[in-house]
């Protein structure tokens, strides 16, 4: 097929006019998108921002004519190269997909066939799209492009399977898959959402560079304003299926016209400028004392006979948490946070080291003592859906721990449960209802109520709020604060969400590859961190304010090393922009610095660039802080 979309510069690549999409169900027709008009110019980046439920994923799919029942397009056109994609016969649409219009979604790990090596699937697509390429040429081109998106040892990775790729790697592979056929238009639907901030920042920079190299127009859809504003030229704000505002990025951030846009900008958490005073460290007695804890898992080695490889998930972690304190543990996925939460909540025993809860080693407890201890600390997890049994009533779910521990006479249970329900903001009238139809936030409240009903002293919150949107998250944080004031509860927040940790935690430990690399109080950590890794994390946070840590100074390349083959010396040196020869020889231990923080770095804070917090602009002119292409 001859390319029909060769457009003169200046004429739009894609024009969407009057597009409406509705959901048809038994209860009637519910509109999802209403009369959307938008224009994509060649070689530009159009950002679309909207909260969950605004219809942005539906819009992105409508652009590639991928609307399936119960959704249906009710009106409008998507014109591309002089033709309306929505009216195109199936075969002609298929001929455009992958060749001229590429699409990348938010779920990189399930986008490819799990049983076929990644490279082979990209090869299959490239050969389907460009049959004139020989197998060797196509393979070479893919390996070159994998190299271009900085996938290490691309020739080896070509033959590896999707499950051997991390989320970030997989998203890069999908970018390769999309760009290897030189499309004119790339639709990127929330592609950074499942990624860690450092990886998301890398992907953004990469996409920006590639967009220039490949001359591709990009429609970039996201729910995070801080991310879209890093990459887009023009922005469209989507609210409940309507476009409420469109402006160039700088103008939108500086002079938002619509109230909803202003609201969105206000909701982006502030970390340095205008942040509320963080809570102070507690001076009470130590509740939780973690001493040099280690945990190693064994996995079977496929390349040797009867051999196992040791995955070092947690490698000697020590810290103390005082009563009534908010302690934060942050780090990228795979750094050992979740293993640590399993150790802390006594679900698994460490291979080495001790965890003392009020001076008693929890590993030695058995039977009744363990049960009594479990009552006093509770674990809250991320997924509010699978944590609640669908078939038992909400009241029964919350009452369950009381029944297990036999703390309260049966006739008083209802009273106790109702009291806790109103305390966490659930109406006691939900007592006899099933959890069907509860929102994620309400479900998380049920989980919290179930933990609180035992009157615990320590709550371990493992990404508890990560699945919730900003508004719901803020409400629950307020709830935790009130509960703390009323009951003196101690919280351990385990999270990758730096803005949240900034707001609530008094002391923060930063983990990298199973180890604490920095441990200090909130203000010191955010204002003058003494570890390059922490600074890299902070430089990658998506915000709309100016950051004291410049992305171009600290942005990390690549991903953490495999926890099976941890390099000798400092485990961060492979990605550290400040590494020197001592780092390769000697593993730095946590040392106490003059500002009271603990840091595992040979530089001890002194070799790092100075940080100027006072000189930051309150509202950033984001365009100037955009990373410079290398």
């Amino acid at each position: 097929m001859a390319p029909q979309s060769m457009s003169k510069p200046g004429s739009p690549l894609m024009e969407v006019r009057d597009l409406s999409v509705a959901m048809r169900s038994e209860s009637g027709v519910r509109p999802i998108l209403n009369t959307i008009d938008l224009t994509v110019m060649p070689r530009s980046v159009l950002g679309i921002i909207g909260e969950s439920g605004s219809g942005k994923t539906v819009l992105s799919r409508a652009l590639v004519n991928w609307i399936k029942p119960p959704l249906a397009i009710t009106s409008g056109s998507v014109r591309y190269g002089g033709r309306d994609l929505l009216a195109l016969p199936e075969e002609e649409m298929a001929a455009l997909r992958g060749r001229e219009i590429a699409y990348i979604g938010a779920n990189p790990t399930s986008a490819l066939d799990p049983t076929v090596p990644v490279g082979h699937q990209i090869l299959e697509k490239l050969r389907a799209v460009a049959p004139q390429l020989s197998r060797q040429d196509a393979r070479k081109r893919i390996i070159d492009t994998l190299d271009a998106v900085r996938i290490p040892s691309p020739a080896k990775r070509f033959d590896e399977y999707p499950f051997q790729f991390s989320g970030g790697m997989m998203q890069r592979a999908l970018i390769v898959d999309a760009l290897v056929s030189n499309p004119k238009l790339l639709i990127a639907d929330n592609i950074t959402q499942p990624l860690d901030v450092t990886v998301a920042a890398q992907i953004l920079r990469l996409l920006r560079d590639l967009q220039k190299d490949f001359d591709t127009a990009v429609v970039f859809i996201s729910s995070a304003l801080g991310i879209v504003s890093e990459i887009a030229d023009d922005m469209i704000v989507l609210d409940r299926g309507h476009i409420v505002e469109r402006q160039p990025v700088n103008a939108l951030l500086e002079k938002p016209e619509h109230g909803y846009t202003r609201e969105l900008i206000a909701k982006v958490p502030k970390i340095w400028t205008g942040a509320a005073e963080p809570p102070a460290p507690s001076a009470q007695n130590v509740v939780l004392d973690v001493r040099d804890v280690e945990k190693t898992y064994e996995v079977r080695d496929r390349n040797a006979i009867f051999a196992h490889r040791k995955v070092q998930a947690v490698r000697g972690v020590s810290f103390t948490v005082r009563r009534g304190e908010n302690f934060g543990i942050i780090g990228e996925s795979g750094c050992g946070k979740s293993t640590l939460s399993r150790l802390l909540s006594c679900l698994e025993a460490p291979n080495r080291g001790q965890i003392l809860f009020e001076d008693r080693d929890i590993a030695t407890l058995r039977g009744k003592d363990l049960l009594a201890l479990r009552r006093r600390f509770q674990l809250l997890l991320q997924d509010p859906y699978n944590a609640i049994a669908a078939h038992s009533s909400i009241g029964r779910t919350i009452a369950e721990p009381l029944l297990i521990h036999g703390l309260v006479p049966r006739r008083e249970i209802r009273k106790r449960v109702s009291a806790v329900m109103s305390e966490v903001g659930l109406s006691p009238s939900l007592y006899d209802q099933l959890p069907v139809g509860l929102s994620a936030g309400q479900r998380q409240r049920v989980n919290i109520a179930r933990a609180l009903v035992l009157e615990p002293e320590l709550l371990i919150l493992d990404e508890t709020l990560s699945a919730l949107d900003q508004v719901e998250q803020a409400k629950l944080l307020d709830l935790f604060e009130t509960l703390q004031a009323r009951r003196g509860i101690t919280y351990v927040y385990i999270s990758h969400d730096l803005a949240m940790v900034r707001r609530v935690c008094a002391r923060i430990a930063v983990m990298y590859l199973g180890r604490v690399v920095e441990l200090s109080d909130n203000e010191t950590l955010f204002a003058s961190s003494s570890h390059p890794y922490t600074r890299a994390l902070l430089s990658a946070v998506p915000t709309v304010e100016e950051k004291p840590y410049k992305t171009e100074t600290y942005l990390l390349e690549g991903e953490p090393p495999d926890p099976i083959d941890i390099p000798p010396g400092c485990s961060f040196r492979t990605r550290c922009p400040f590494a020197f020869d001592r780092c390769a020889r000697e593993d730095p231990r946590l040392t106490l610095l003059s500002d009271g923080s603990l840091s595992a770095c040979h530089l001890e804070g002194s070799g790092l660039p100075a940080v100027d917090i006072a000189g930051l602009q309150p509202v950033a002119t984001v365009a100037q802080t955009r990373p410079v292409a290398p």
Partner: protein
Amino acid sequence: MAFAIEFFLRRISQGLVIVLLVAFVIFTLLRIVPGDPIRIILGPMTPASVLEQTAKDLGLRDPILVQFGRFVGQVATGDLGRSFIRGLQGGSAGGSQDAAGYNPESRASVAELIGTALPYSLQLAGLGILFALLVAVPIGMAAGLRAGKWPDRLGLYVSSLFVSLPNIWVAVVLIFLLSAKADLLPAIGYRGFSYTIIPAMVVAIELSPVMIRAISVSVAANLGEIYYDVGMVRGLSRWTMIFKHVLRNAAVPLLNLFGAQMIGMLLGGLFVVEYIFSYPGVGMLTINAVFQRDFPIIQAVAILASGALVAINMLVDFTSTTIDRRLKF
């Protein structure tokens, strides 16, 4: 490669333990059921003194563990023992032909009996599976690809119909229609390949409903996976996605079903079908051995069957993990 070596080393050693346990249980059961094997060997008319002497000579009065040890030693050298009843020509001996003294050499070797019968059974099983696949793959695929539409309902009806037909009844009806009435195919005994066709049809009707359901469910499930939709958005055609990816992914649950369930059904089906059609396979041999209390044949067949199950499951698991590298065995 290292993975394959480790896999087979581990699974063969585990399999040997399983087969050994099965053999021990069967061996013991056959020796504690009422009835002295020596009476079966020598016949009811033999004098008691001869019985006792022969039993001692044959080692039948030793403790069971000793007997089992001896048996395992023999099996290891490929000797599955000798039939109690059947003579060298394969026919059953009766009465008291050994009253003067028993000569084990006058009985047929179990290994040879099974060796003669096994090819017939394999032919029947192979043809049965082929027929079942010919029916189940098109119907199951169509049902899976068009879930909720008429092919899906057709698949459901066909499999419900087949699953509710008793194989004995199907056999009799097919013999009546195809052999007695239409005279298209022979039915009883074996004098050529055509004798396998009607029994294989009966086996296929028994196997196909499970296959149809399994194929349609796993194909439909894979069409619901994200990678299928994304594949088409990436620029691959629907048929590429179905033939290269959906079928590949759907094969894993099918293989496991085959190893776990269908082989058992097949073995059970063969026994019944071979008996109905007087088909000279292992099933017939075993059923006759049961009627005649010919324990060496029964135990040899049981051990072989468990060995076959273990081996097939090992191959199924290896194929599954080769198709889907996420699986760990």
